[in-house]
Subunit: 219 residues, 2 copies
DNA sequence: TGAGCATTGTGAAACAATTCACATTAAATT
DNA sequence: AATTTAATGTGAATTGTTTCACAATGCTCA
């Protein structure tokens, strides 16, 4: 069994969205077209689609509906897969609103809080439990993915609860790199890192702009 | 002039934070220690630090204060660098709260909205302008980085305004891949993609768990 | 003073992801 | 039926990143 490149999996979501929009308008699509919509190269699109085991035809390209079916078979869980979110603050609330009803097979089924004013009630359409009950709730609901949106200092504590309860994938918004066993897939989303990185490359770009100008003027 | 790996730039923010915590406790640090805090290998830490042009000593490791100085010289702008954010909704508000006063040299100096109830006043400590004035405000304040937190359909429109006004780095939360010239650095943060990806790998991990169990029971 | 030692800096190897390049294919056209 | 055409699928090359492995270093302690 070959392992699928991580980035390819991420791009399937993108292709799915593009194809879904396209479905109404046309029955077939070429790799070139998908590539331009997704801001990639045609070769990369074809390389990604190889893992689906579905082939287009040279003359027609890919059948939009069939391609959607194959992406869905690959990407979407066949039975409902459940997600929990720890920390219903700024980030937690934004996520609850955003993911509500987005993908029926992938559902935020529970949230957890330390703050007694927030738990033991529905928050944005999702039941909120005390973090103390996380282990049993996760096991009872069969939750497999956890989102960490608690303050940095609490992140490892929550991750430990998640892992102990059998969660196999974590999205971590805290700035603390998490300790987790290798069979748990962790995706860190550190906005401060993104910010500093983009600011750095923006400066580089400005610098080379001004260098070009000074080069010009030396001519 | 050699170009610095993108991932390395991202990790400097992480090292900076770890070192900042450490500064009070100790004067020197080994690559091993930084690696364990950052969940990386010691070799990778040393490889990253190479680009700073600062060397530690075999016996003492790195001088915490000097290393911080070099990271700051590399990562932090020498004069205030300004950021704008378009769209003060769920994501926009969360970011405004989070980045307020985080790094004095890197400041969210303006936000933009279409909704007249939101603009022409302060929102969470940051002046909010009409998106129609984005071009002139960006130029006047010398803003170089833009954050896109508007609905997907508006994202390209806002990106075009940003690029035309001279912005050189964009963080894009919308799910639309953006068209931008090559001298503008774009970082896409697509939470739906992260979600689907983590869910996929969590399922794989569950599957191989149960395969191991069935292997065990066959022995 | 010098042997022992743990750590650094870095060339080279390994690995991962992307791009190139082209033989192959099936439809459209002659 | 043969020819032309523009796309696909993929081996090989390239690019980017991480890891390995070890000589060089400078501190400690005999
Ligand atoms: N807001 C942002 O834009 C932003 C950006 C980047 C990173 N982050 C990170 O995301 C995390 C959350 O940020 P936020 O702005 O939503 O914070 P927040 O303070 O608004 O929300 C955190 C919530 O977690 C709850 N909480 C605290 N400890 C808990 C525990 N042990 N178990 C369960 N719940 C607990 C709190 O009661 C609170 O409701 C932080 O680590 C922050 O660094 C946030
Ligand atoms: N909320 C989330 O957790 C989440 C997660 C993933 C992605 N996103 C993406 O982030 C973006 C914003 O999400 P949100 O939840 O904050 O949405 P939101 O609807 O809460 O906020 C969008 C804001 O943008 C403003 N706006 C609309 N058009 C504008 C324009 N042309 N110029 C300036 N402002 C404009 C609206 O008035 C609104 O205040 C969307 O593209 C969404 O897909 C959000």
């Amino acid at each position: 069994m070959k392992t699928v490149p991580h980035r390819t999996v991420g791009r399937f979501t993108l292709y799915w969205h593009i194809l879904k929009d396209l479905e109404q308008e046309q029955t077939h699509v070429y790799s070139h077209f998908l590539a331009s919509k997704a801001r990639l190269t045609a070769a990369q699109v074809r390389r990604d689609l190889m893992v689906l085991g579905y082939s287009g035809t040279p003359a027609r390209g890919y059948d939009v509906r069939k391609l959607l079916d194959h992406i869905e078979a690959f990407l979407f869980p066949s039975t409902e897969q459940r997600i929990a979110i720890a920390g219903v603050g700024n980030i937690g609330r934004a996520l609850l609103k955003f993911f509500a009803g987005r993908q029926p097979m992938l559902r935020i089924a529970a949230s957890f809080e330390v703050n007694p004013e927030k738990y033991d009630r529905m928050v944005l359409g999702c039941p909120c439990y005390s973090i103390d009950n996380a282990g049993s709730v996760i096991r009872e609901l069969g939750i497999t993915v956890g989102i960490i949106a608690v303050p940095d200092k609490e992140a490892q504590f929550v991750a430990n609860l998640f892992v102990a309860a059998g969660i196999k994938g974590i999205i971590n918004f805290a700035r603390t790199p998490l300790q987790a066993p290798p069979d748990v897939y962790v995706e860190d989303i550190d906005l401060a890192r993104s910010m500093d990185k983009v600011a750095y490359f923006a400066r580089q770009s400005l610098k080379s702009d001004s260098m070009m100008i000074s080069k010009e003027s030396h001519k």
